[in-house]
């Protein structure tokens, strides 16, 4: 039997890190929020990612995105502390800075050039260093002899993404939000002033809707006259047994957790909606990890998985308010861990004001994809 729920001010569709961040931000500022999530069969990047709060190299094609990322990373410490106070959950957030490991001199040179050019355009400062092989060995004693160097950025950090998701949902509920899993939204339509939301278990009514369903946005957005240009890009990740601490910094593709396990992965594959793992990619990933840190040869991998990134054509977030009635918002990003403080903070404020300032959000409008390719 379909259950009927009273109208909520805000319904956030999608309980991944993005949707939960927004629900948390809205609930914390007093809004009545309903968070609808699909069940365990859903594609859920929030449960399969690497957990880097990553700044360096972000925004190579969009200085607005570089600024957004830098601001969010700068707020991560306070954000994690607040969540811990509200939920008792320690997110294991650390910000010792991170190294992007380069396997050849050409790669190091290219990378430094790219980082320097981002810094010419970004308005929020973030320094970086180009670290040669000797200096790198001094700072990362376990680095392999074949590594050519790294770029180091002190603004990068890491967190436990599973604790983050749990804390966000718990904190949102603590501020009065309702979280309902196993409520896949099957159809959306305008209903007078509001929106009618039909799920696989009940129909709901909303004053305002936030589409934060990750890859699910692709099907949901068109039902309300919007487009979410997203495609899945697979990453395969492995985690080792817990080993004694050897890596005090973050890196672009290997992170040692507080408990000691090493999580690593870096593949970017066009594999459609296939979340599986493949021997060839796992083998190559492991080979590169062992080249970077030869002692990993002794560590056993205890689990491997695939997860699908939610990718826009240019990798830059899409933030859009529906034209006209304006009570529908579309949010599609890749780096949801990094941007969590932004979604819970500034984005929640904009949603409450029912206005994505066109000046601020123009760089993130999907209109940019409508420009004809030259």
């Amino acid at each position: 039997m379909a259950e009927r729920h009273p109208t909520s001010d805000f319904v956030v569709i999608g309980g991944g890190i993005v949707g939960a961040s927004i629900a948390y931000g809205l609930a914390k500022s007093g809004e009545k929020v309903l968070l609808l999530d699909e069940g365990d069969v859903a594609f859920r990047a929030a449960r399969g990612n690497l957990g880097n709060v990553w700044v360096q190299g972000k925004g190579a094609t969009s200085h607005a995105y570089a600024d957004l990322t830098r601001n969010a990373a700068n707020r991560w410490g306070g954000f994690a502390a607040a969540l811990q106070e509200e939920t008792g959950i320690d997110l294991h957030f650390r910000r010792p800075g991170a190294f992007y490991i380069c396997f050849s001199e050409e790669e190091l040179e290219r990378r430094s050039g790219m980082m320097a050019s981002i810094n010419e355009h970004a308005t929020v400062r973030s320094e970086f260093e180009t670290v040669g092989p000797e200096e790198l060995r001094r700072r990362l004693p376990e680095i392999g002899p074949e590594i050519a160097g790294a770029t180091y950025c002190p603004d990068d950090g890491t967190a436990n993404p599973l604790f983050l998701l749990r804390a966000l949902i718990k904190a949102a509920a603590g501020f009065g939000a309702t979280y309902l899993p196993r409520r896949k939204v099957v159809s959306l339509c305008r209903d007078g002033e509001g929106i009618c939301i039909e799920t696989e278990a009940g129909t709901f009514h909303a004053g305002r809707v936030v589409l934060a369903a990750g890859l699910g946005n692709g099907k949901l957005a068109p039902q309300l006259g919007m487009t979410a240009p997203v495609r899945p890009v697979r990453g395969q990740i492995m985690v080792t047994e817990k080993v004694r601490k050897f890596l005090d910094f973050g890196t672009n593709f290997i992170r040692q957790t507080v408990e000691g396990g090493c999580v690593f992965g870096e593949s970017s594959e066009e594999a459609g909606f296939d979340e599986g793992t493949t021997l060839s990619v796992l083998r190559e990933t492991a080979r590169r990890a062992v080249t970077a840190f030869p002692l990993l040869r002794d560590a056993r991998v205890v689990r491997a998985w695939g997860a699908l990134r939610i990718m826009t054509p240019d990798g830059v977030p899409v933030y859009q308010q529906a034209p006209g009635a304006g009570n529908v918002f579309l949010i599609t990003v890749h780096s949801g861990v990094t941007l969590a403080p932004f979604h819970a903070g500034e984005m929640a404020v904009a949603l409450r004001q029912n206005r994505l300032d066109p000046d601020r959000y123009l760089p993130f409008s999907p209109e940019r994809f409508n420009v004809q390719a030259a």
């Binding site: 376990e142 047994e241 817990k242 080993v243 004694r244 601490k245 050897f246 507080v258 408990e259 000691g260 030869p294 002692l295 990993l296 002794d298 560590a299 056993r300 205890v302």
Partner: protein, 103 residues
């Protein structure tokens, strides 16, 4: 605390537990053999150094980790005893690499 169901004196092998020789039934499950020998704890946790003993006995919980013949983090419940096997308690996280081996 534990008593074998069948102790009619089949074949036995000698293994070494923390440097001490111990006679155990041949082809027995290592975790079971260690439990019968009163070995406790099997390991301590990396995060809080809390003591752990086998819990599931079927390869799922990883609470039975021990060091076998110098290799850390082996699941005792998935191993069969071998003559001359050296078993040590797994203390916290395993040390890997040269520094770990030099220990």
């Amino acid at each position: 605390m534990f008593r074998p169901l069948d102790d009619k004196g089949g074949k036995a092998v000698a293994i070494e537990i923390e440097g001490r020789s111990q006679i155990v039934p041949a082809a027995s499950n290592l975790a079971a053999a260690l439990l019968s020998a009163g070995f406790s704890p099997f390991r301590t946790t990396p995060a809080g150094a809390a003591p752990r003993q086998p819990y599931c006995m079927m390869g799922v919980c990883f609470d039975c980790l021990v060091e076998i013949d110098g290799l850390p983090n082996r699941q005792a419940c998935l191993e069969t005893v071998r003559e001359g096997m050296h078993v040590r308690r797994q203390q916290g996280a395993a040390a890997i690499g040269e520094k770990g081996k030099a220990r």
